[in-house]
Amino acid sequence: MTNKRMTNWTAGDDRMVEDAIRRGATRRDLMKMLMAGGVATMAGGTILGRATAAYASTPVSGGFIKVAGASSSTADTLDPAKASNSTDYSRICSIYNRLTFLDSSGAVQMELAKSVESSDAKTWTVSLKSGVTFHSGKSLTAQDVVYSLNRHLDEAVGSKVNSIAAQMESIRAVDDLTVTIDLASPNADLPIILALHHFMIVADGATDFTKPDGTGAFKVENFEPGVTSILVKNENYFKGNGVHLDGFEFFAIRDEPARVNALMSGDVQVASAVKPQSMRLIDSVDSIVALKNTAGNYTNMNMRLDMSPGDNAAFVEGMKYLINREQIEKSVMRGLAVVANDQPVSPASKYYNADLKPRDFDPERAKSLFEKAGVLGQSIPIVCSDAASSSVDMATVIQQAGSTIGMNLDVQRVPADGYWSNYWLKAPIHFGNINPRPTPDILFSLLYAKTAKWNESQFMNDKFDSMLIEARGLLDEEKRTEIYGEMQTMISNEAGTAIPVWLSGVDAMSSKVKGMQTNPLGGLMGYAFAEHIWLEQ
């Protein structure tokens, strides 16, 4: 490949093409896209060759890789209920299975369940696949599922999804392979909820998770919290086509430059959560590839509607116009972001309202709105912190835009330690960071309903709440999409949460690691990479 760096084509553009292929673009679509970008046909052919080669090669078996995650401490756990970060998720995804999972397009697929069905969205019947065994040799039965789900309702367990699980009023085994779940009120999203990492199925009665027993593709050979873990292939894995890797070591290198260095020097084969600042270094090396995943994580600016100055609607609207989203996307995130439109449902969701366009950057309009609100000339504090990623840079961008129109924004940077309990949800204007959630219902119930625990801007709207309940129980997809679309518009216009961009996560890996895809549940294929990837010899 002599003219690899022709024109101004970069590895970032390679990623864009790969992304398009993954979304199902045809060769003709891509050529059109490239021609529009001014790339000559010959060069375009080379690029397509490279991108598609990365995407389509045959899996090979064998090999052991080392994967570096981004966070780790002695609090690392193999208990699915308590799993709290990408490191925990990556491990539990390889050890256990869920009843259902989400594929790269966000569609629900069955994993341990054969089917999850309901006629009224209130009483659900889960039939399990037969012949699934745990690592210990025990067969999977309905009792394991009942035990696993009930754990989340026990407060002494300390489950992270206690509030989501609370809607399951009764969970009981009907026979050996059938479980009935009664919900407090209809919820058509149950199959997606069961795909959350925390709802992994553990063996009945399991309490010691230092030596976990799961049905997953890998068994734990060694696990030292805060240090490392070694997982080896489960030869009796129930999914027929099998696992490609012989095993992998998963540990975290918390220092991002150290993580990238370890990948560059070949000490690890996959490095998760690479920062935008490292992209140029990674792009300079041919043996390293990066995979961009925009799942729906965002950092947002919250203006509490029940406190001054957020109680003035003109101020809130003005602030939304004062955000230079493009600059945040290009300069702060260095292209690893997608401009968003102040509502939490991401373009990766099938319920995304594409008609709702992001607000333009319009300082003049913001100025007239601020004049209307009578806030010009006041010093308005904005709390930001490294705890909410990139919020300090975003706040600075907004502050600078404000200074051009005489709006005095006082950026207060506070320590990351204790940010979530001391400032988040509390300060009149502050930043938050929300991880992707698989359904609009979860996002809205968690963040925008009147009773929402994390109602970041104290958005209270009766109509919104009744639409939320109506859509939740609807099995009619078309009607649901319409309601969710309207709710997105309501949030974008009325809530005090300004969401400038969707943050893209980037995982970097050796070019020998194949089969990694994007997933709406997060980076590293929604953390379930281990059973899908293979190592080219």
Binding site: S73, T74, A75, K82, S84, G158, K160, D255, A258, S421
Partner: protein, 317 residues
């Protein structure tokens, strides 16, 4: 002779015990001041009041602070560090492996840096004012001024990323040969040596030169002793006390202060364990780590004191 030294050492031990108790109380009090507790931190953003209360109850965190302190202190005197709040494992188990790692790194660094630093320091004093002395002194000042994260990061970029001679990480399970051991430890040891050797060189040079300026050294010089003899036979024994203290202070850094090196090379030592413990509000673990650091520090200082007592002829006779 022996009774005086023994009494001095016994006094030191007594002071050390009192210091440990005071430190334990201070550390305990300081950890109580940290905002949030382990239940809140473990639940993170998901910490609803009910969930926190449930978890607190289950973890036995509702006991008041003072009885908890005394229970812990009594356990400690019996060699029982207690259970970690986060993993529910005995703290002794958590610390054992990490402490071993830290001590291994510290031992290798000590073996290399102390002889190197002392010989350079003493030689610089011996040839005070010569070109050699100036080169050593300038180099040490330069090295002191460069922060260790800079040294470590540059070393990784050059030796691991570009040259690919050494691994970027210093924790590998498959250390099978001495050669591999050398390769894995090379970069952290070099970085740490840079940090602590510079201090020791400056201190030992200064101590020897100071002794050289005393009247009895001048006397030795007037009697016709060579510079070498004056330094090695007359000045050095009397400079041992301050040198031992400088070495002890530098080495104590290897126990708790190597967090930057542990982070950059992803080396699971005890400093990182303690930082983790603070972040997760695992108070018994924080306290145990602090006690270990304090104990190690006091031991080193006491050793230095004993050396200076033994090297002092007035106390020896």
């Amino acid at each position: 002779m022996n009774t005086i030294i023994l009494r001095l050492i016994a006094e030191r031990l007594g002071v050390m015990l009192v210091t440990l108790v005071i430190v334990s109380f201070t550390v305990f009090a300081a950890t109580q001041l940290l905002p949030g507790d382990v239940a809140q931190i473990l639940l993170g953003q998901a910490a609803t009041p009910e969930a926190v209360a449930g978890l607190r109850e289950a973890m036995g965190l509702n006991e008041p602070a003072i009885p908890r302190y005394f229970n812990w202190l009594i356990g400690l005197t019996q060699g029982d560090f207690g259970l970690s709040y986060v993993t529910r494992e005995p703290i002794a188990d958590l610390i054992a492996g990490r402490l071993q790692n830290t001590l291994r790194l510290a031992a290798i660094t000590t073996l290399i840096s102390v002889p190197l630093a002392l010989s350079l320091g003493i030689l610089a004093a011996l040839y005070q004012g010569t070109k050699f002395d100036r080169v050593v002194s300038t180099a040490t000042v330069m090295i002191i001024s460069v922060p260790e994260f800079m040294v470590a990061t540059l070393a990784v970029l050059i030796f691991a990323v570009y040259l690919k001679w050494l691994p970027a990480l210093s924790y590998a399970n498959e250390v099978t040969s001495l050669w591999q051991l050398l390769k894995t430890f090379a970069m952290p040891v070099i970085t740490l040596t840079f940090v602590i050797a510079a201090q020791m060189i400056r201190m030992s040079r200064a101590a020897v030169i100071e002794t050289l300026n005393t009247p009895y050294c001048e006397m030795a010089l007037l009697k016709g002793a060579s510079r070498r003899r004056t330094v090695l036979i007359h000045a050095l024994p009397n400079a041992l006390g301050p040198i031992a203290n400088a070495v002890a202070l530098s080495l104590s850094y290897l126990l708790g202060g190597v967090i930057i090196v542990e982070t950059i090379f992803n080396y699971p030592g005890i400093a990182k364990l303690m930082v983790d413990a603070v972040a997760t509000r695992d108070l018994p673990l924080v306290q145990s780590c602090a006690m270990i650091f304090c104990f190690g520090y006091l031991m080193l200082i006491m050793l230095a004191d004993i050396i200076s007592i033994l090297s002092n002829p007035r106390l020896r006779t």
